[in-house]
């Protein structure tokens, strides 16, 4: 889908900005909003670039930096922390050799923190792209990352 296809789905009203940014980011090969994406959205909705930039940087689901092929979001909220989220995120940092907000050297994974994913019953939890994984342990995390590596 090109940018024009995205715009065709929405009327030229400001309340569609966030939906447009979601779609542009999904279409971007590197899972982020490029300067060109923001400019195109600003032009389409006839909004100042600075305004669009302001909105894009407010929300955690948008990234203005290129990201890896898969986005690993580890829940950092209190219920997950209580059940051992720190050991899980430490393992992921070691495994991918990155810190939060960084992308692994092979451009495969970007590690991010997220607030509550709403699956606290199986805490600690994480999301890889659109899939949710619960009851995590360092061992389980290794298996999941390994599986994704093998598949791609």
């Amino acid at each position: 889908m090109t940018r024009r296809d995205v715009f065709e789905r929405y009327s030229k009203t400001g309340d569609n900005l966030i939906s447009i940014l979601h779609d542009l980011q999904n279409e971007n090969e590197w899972n982020y909003l490029s300067k060109e994406d923001l400019q195109a959205a600003a032009d389409y909705l006839e909004l100042p670039y600075s305004f669009v930039h302001g909105v894009a940087t407010f929300y955690t689901m948008f990234s203005l930096k290129p990201r890896g092929r898969h986005i690993v979001r580890v829940c950092q909220s209190p219920p997950c922390q209580l059940m051992g989220a720190t050991t899980v995120s430490d393992e992921l940092k070691k495994l991918l050799n990155v810190d939060f907000g960084q992308t692994s050297a092979d451009q495969m994974f970007t590690l991010e923190m997220t607030s509550c994913l709403g699956v606290c019953g199986v805490a600690p939890a994480m999301m890889v792209d659109d899939d949710v994984y619960g009851n995590l342990t360092p061992k389980r995390v290794n298996e999941i990352i390994g599986e994704i590596r093998r598949e791609s």
Binding site: N16, G54, S77, Q81, L82, G121, M127
Partner: protein
């Protein structure tokens, strides 16, 4: 109409999907196909049961048997034993300890599935929520139908909701009927109704269950609410992370439109209402109603200065009503059954039921719907199965991250807005995070503060600076460098934030900070002097 001898319900949620629910479902359908039993056995996809950690669950009706952690290879056994021979497939059950970790149980007997007075979750895990006909046959849209056929006026609906005593389930507990009347009375032709489905409170997933398990109830409630307050357009603002909820609600909207239950001239009446989903993009503060309105307009989600309240000037400066998902889910029941019936549930000041999420160190984590005023002890021990591994109870963080650390002396407090208020606590979103004797309150408070420091929108200084300063001080205690005077400073700072912050995000931090420091003072070992004071002393020498 075909009458089925047996129904097999398969609850689908994120957890079940991960555990391979669709493989199990395919296997089940192919087994039924192989035996040519399509006319006898019906397989239904439903919303979730509410219990977590159960993997793929199958519920067999009319026998009322509940199989948990079902694997693909178990399907043939269940088919052969239960479906064909009519006896419970005991061979796949193996007991571990008190509970069947894997295997069957009679539904409504175990922990979280223990019988509950389910009102707003009545259809969750009972009905194929994708199928509008089935939803209708189970009582969906009957309140709307009643309004149309009995020509009930908007004022009578508002009065009914007022008399029911329904209070906002988003956390603050404001009387819903009163809120409606503000928007209804506001001058202006164009008005909006918004459903707040930006569920971000840590430890809360009640709204997700309603969105996924019974989206038609929300659609019906929105139409009724719109009619009552004089609005023809509604929005459902769903958090961006809830992809499955967005898909299911969209499908419900489309089906309702196709069946004349939504849109122009609903059910042939002169009621007109249109609904649209707006997707969030990850910001906790957007759960605050004016921030949500800003975000819906396509702006940064910074809360507005109140007044004017949304009832007077909300979305695009028009009169607007914002209600939480759970609040709205009560509306069709109140309209259909009446305020008097509703008042038979719960307490005098807080009628109705409440959905609670039970998490942390409990035997059965998950979600329940019980009457308002149910004691915390009953929720944790009867439904949650008590503290896991026989450990001792230490505290429960009640009401989400912006909640209170309740010590064991308050275990018998009835869970409703008034009783908790008397104990300086809040019901909040209804999240109950149980901590055992090994949990560190200091670490939990740190986690709570880290969350707030990250989610503060930065618009007003008390919250932007206060969250960071509180976090710094707790970090000092983690390093063993905290001083006595800092404990008082933390309480003073959270009091200042309570008095001066623009929105509830900054105002509510006083709850976790004060309750942690007052009830668990011994977990914050302090030096007599701060780092700065010690440094000054050293220089004096």
């Amino acid at each position: 109409m075909n009458l089925f001898r047996m129904h097999i319900l398969i609850p689908v949620d994120e957890e079940a999907i991960q555990a391979g629910v669709f493989d199990v479902k395919r296997e089940l359908e192919s087994e039924i196909g192989k035996r040519n039993m399509q006319g006898e056995i019906k397989v239904l996809e439903t919303g979730t049961v509410g219990a977590a950690g159960k993997g793929v669950v199958l519920i067999v009706y009319p026998d009322n048997i509940y199989y948990s952690n079902v694997r693909r290879e178990d399907v043939a056994v269940i088919m052969e034993e239960h479906v064909v021979k009519g006896r419970v497939a005991k061979s796949i059950a193996h007991e571990t300890g008190e509970e069947l970790k894997r295997g069957h149980k009679e539904f409504h007997q175990v922990g979280l599935t223990r019988k509950q007075p389910r009102v707003i979750l009545d259809k969750c895990c009972m009905v194929d929520s994708h199928n509008i006909e089935e939803v209708i046959s189970y009582g969906g849209y009957q309140a709307l139908e009643k309004i149309v056929s009995e020509k009930i006026t908007p004022q009578r609906i508002i009065d009914e909701v007022k008399n029911s005593g329904l209070r906002g389930r988003g956390g603050a507990g404001f009387p819903t009927g009163l809120k409606w009347s503000f928007t209804a009375q506001a001058p202006g032709e164009e008005k909006y109704v918004i459903c707040n489905a930006d569920e971000g409170e840590p430890g809360t997933f009640k709204d997700r269950l309603i969105l996924e398990g019974d989206p038609h109830k929300l659609v019906e409630a929105m139409i009724i609410t719109g009619y009552a307050v004089g609005s023809r357009k509604g929005f459902i603002y769903i958090r961006g992370e809830y992809q499955l909820s967005i898909e299911r609600v969209q499908r419900a909207i489309d089906d309702a439109m196709a069946n004349g239950l939504l849109g122009d001239n609903i059910l042939g009446s002169d009621i007109t209402f249109h609904l649209e989903i707006k997707k969030g993009a990850g910001a906790y503060v957007c759960g605050e109603e004016t921030a949500l309105i800003e975000s819906l307009e396509g702006d940064r989600g910074n809360p507005r200065v109140k007044p004017p309240y949304p009832a007077a000037q909300g979305l695009w400066q028009k009169p607007t009503l914002v209600n939480n998902v759970e609040t709205l889910a009560n509306v069709p029941h109140i309209v259909f059954n009446g305020a008097d019936w509703y008042r038979t549930l719960g307490t005098d000041k807080c009628p109705g039921t409440k959905v609670f999420t039970i998490l942390g160190h409990v035997e059965y984590p998950g979600l329940i719907e019980v009457e308002m005023g149910t004691p915390l002890r009953e929720i944790i021990y009867n439904y949650g199965g008590g503290v896991k591994d026989g450990k001792r109870f230490k505290a429960a963080l009640v009401g989400g991250a912006a909640g209170m650390f309740l010590p064991d002396r308050l275990l018998d407090v009835p869970m409703d807005y008034e009783s908790l208020k008397e104990n300086a606590a809040v019901l909040g979103s209804g999240a109950i995070l149980v901590m055992n004797e090994d949990a560190s309150i200091l670490e939990m408070l740190h986690s709570v503060l880290e969350f707030f420091a990250h989610e503060s929108c930065g618009q007003c200084s008390p919250c932007r600076i206060g969250t960071k300063q509180l976090l710094n001080m707790v970090e000092d205690f983690r390093k063993g460098e905290g001083a006595e005077s800092q404990l008082d400073a933390m309480i003073r700072m959270s009091e200042t934030m309570f008095n001066t912050s623009l929105c509830p995000l900054g105002q509510s931090l006083i709850m976790p900070v004060k309750s942690a420091l007052e009830n668990f003072r011994e977990e914050f070992p302090a030096k007599t002097k701060t780092k700065t004071e010690s440094a000054i002393d050293r220089r004096k020498k």
